[in-house]
Amino acid sequence: MSLSMRCKWWSVGHAALVLAALLIGAAANAQLRIEIRSGVERPIPMAIVPFGFNGGGAPAPFDLAGLVTADLGNSGRFDPIPESDMLSRPTRPADINFNDWQILDVDVVLIGELTEDAPDRYTIVFQLFDVLRGEQLLGFRLSTARADLRAAGHQIADIVYEELTGIPGVFSTSIAYVNETRNPDGSQRFRLIVADSDGENSRVIADSPDPLMSPAWSPDGRRIAYVSFEGENSAVYVQTLRTGTRDRVSAREGVNSAPAFSPDGRRLALTLSRDGNLDIYTIDLATQVSRRLTQSSSIDTEPTWSEDGESIYFTSDRAGGPQIYRIPSVPPVDRAERVTFEGSYNARPRVSPDGDSLAVVHRNQDNYRIATVDPDTGLVQVLTNGRLDESPSFAPNGAQIIYATREGGRGVLASVSSDGRIRRQIASVAGDVREPVWSPYPRP
């Protein structure tokens, strides 16, 4: 069986870039642990065979199969069998005995080999097989440095996931979130953390005794905007991940909050206050020119951009309780158009990558839950069942929403598939975690 090389774009440059953005800086104490609460009814049974290593008898520098197993297993869509159940451990196509896998009721088998070509140069070859048909589904070769083996493992998981589900994988993406711990004297400590989507590789990008909140990714995934209360008032900062450089974008008198990058990355929508009245503004990041978009005496906040950048969705209590509204992103601003009508509380909208749906916080009796709203019909679908669920953020493939919830009195993260079927809990090792935001796809 010959190896097909279908993928040119997964060059090492890709992996190197992602890691450059994530490896610098101190490692965080708070790591996350993913646990499936409910998966699809029939996850795909599969086998991920430990990869062979050709490295002159030395032990493999990284357990690629282990990482791919964790990624795919934690997605809730696959059921990888344990290594101890495997009757054989092929690493090359010729060694596969399909009977060994049919007996185990496995639908697909992933095999691979890692080869050390030169010091710090590795080649990974992996192939996915359909067990019933005895056919190869895909095969790839990747070359990588040692430091990028973890990123390469996530790329393998992304490729396999897309082949088997038809949905692009998001294992190579990152999440940003806020971690709060309490010192022995009861005072708070806030950290803004960026981690791989599996919670590993976490690093602190800001650390403060004063609140940090509302992280937002730039569309290229290289910068994060956030709110910091250092200096006894709120201010909005934009920090470049690779260098740690940050710019103070807004520190006006009153509230400076809720930043959101425009899809072209040039503007920031945010909330400012004059005389205590919160309104939506945009700031051009290059010229610092700000524009006011709302003029009401209500609380107008939590702006987010439509996928084409032409509209801004936001929360307003102009009609009593908070509801979602939509306005054009450039003046002249017409009257805001109300989007949600179902329920007494709909807030903090986030637009799905395809623009067809909004994720919001929806109050259901006394419970705050994550729901999706069709922006055209206002139809609400509640996805979660917690008491204080908040801060929904779409994965860049639109298939999952990460959010913050409470468990045992602690703030934890969770994710739910956009259809509500798959639920995962992402626990923190230390303190409360909240305000998760999913990064865009890494750009080459």
Binding site: A206, P209, F229, Y237, I299, T301, R434, E435
Partner: protein, 185 residues
């Protein structure tokens, strides 16, 4: 009876909050601003982190030493106003207390106070920033009506980020929906 209990509980909380809050002198390096340590690289220095300045209006310092003993009691006790759920109008039972603060400020123009608005944990974080801001503005309006000058009053909203008590029950929530009056020393 209940209200008395709530008030006395609030005093202890106000002291605790003042002890660990950002306004105290307990945080090293606070004077230089930039208490946040951004990290991410050994690369370029942050040009703005050292330049954080507080935007508090009012005179350079607050002159609390000139107060009468009665006024001193007021500015060290009775420093928290509580609110109903999702409301920002000041309850009538706090009118007398705020009138006393307003008159104190009117007769002592050298004294300034910072109004920190807070919300309970329910609802979204940014909406709660709005609610806390609105609450601090409600208190500000009453103080202005009592003769305080705008320059004596600063407001900030922490939303739900700085709870007075950590807990997810009505007892905790009712203590967290508040505005704290923090006299500048």
């Amino acid at each position: 009876m209940t209200r008395l209990k709530l008030l006395s509980a609030s005093l202890a909380i106000a002291f605790v909050a003042a002890g660990c809050g950002g306004s105290g002198g307990t945080v090293p390096d606070e004077g230089t601003g930039g208490a946040v340590a951004p990290s991410g690289g050994g690369g370029a220095d942050d040009s703005s982190s050292g330049a954080v300045t507080t935007a508090l209006p009012g005179p350079g310092g607050s002159d609390i030493s000139a107060l009468t003993p009665q006024e001193r009691t007021l500015v060290t006790e009775n420093l928290v106003v509580y609110f109903e759920f999702d409301r920002s109008d000041v309850r009538s039972d706090f009118n007398a207390m705020l009138a006393a603060h307003g008159q104190l400020l009117a007769t002592n123009p050298g004294v300034s106070v910072r109004l920190e608005g807070h919300a309970d944990e329910r609802g979204t974080r940014e909406y709660n920033i709005g609610l806390g801001e609105r609450r601090s503005q409600s208190v500000r309006q009453i103080l202005l009506l009592q003769g305080a000058a705008a320059a004596q009053l600063a407001t900030v909203s922490y939303g739900e980020e700085r709870p007075a008590v950590f807990g997810s029950d009505e007892g905790s929530w009712s203590l967290n929906r508040r505005v704290e009056l923090i006299y500048e020393q």
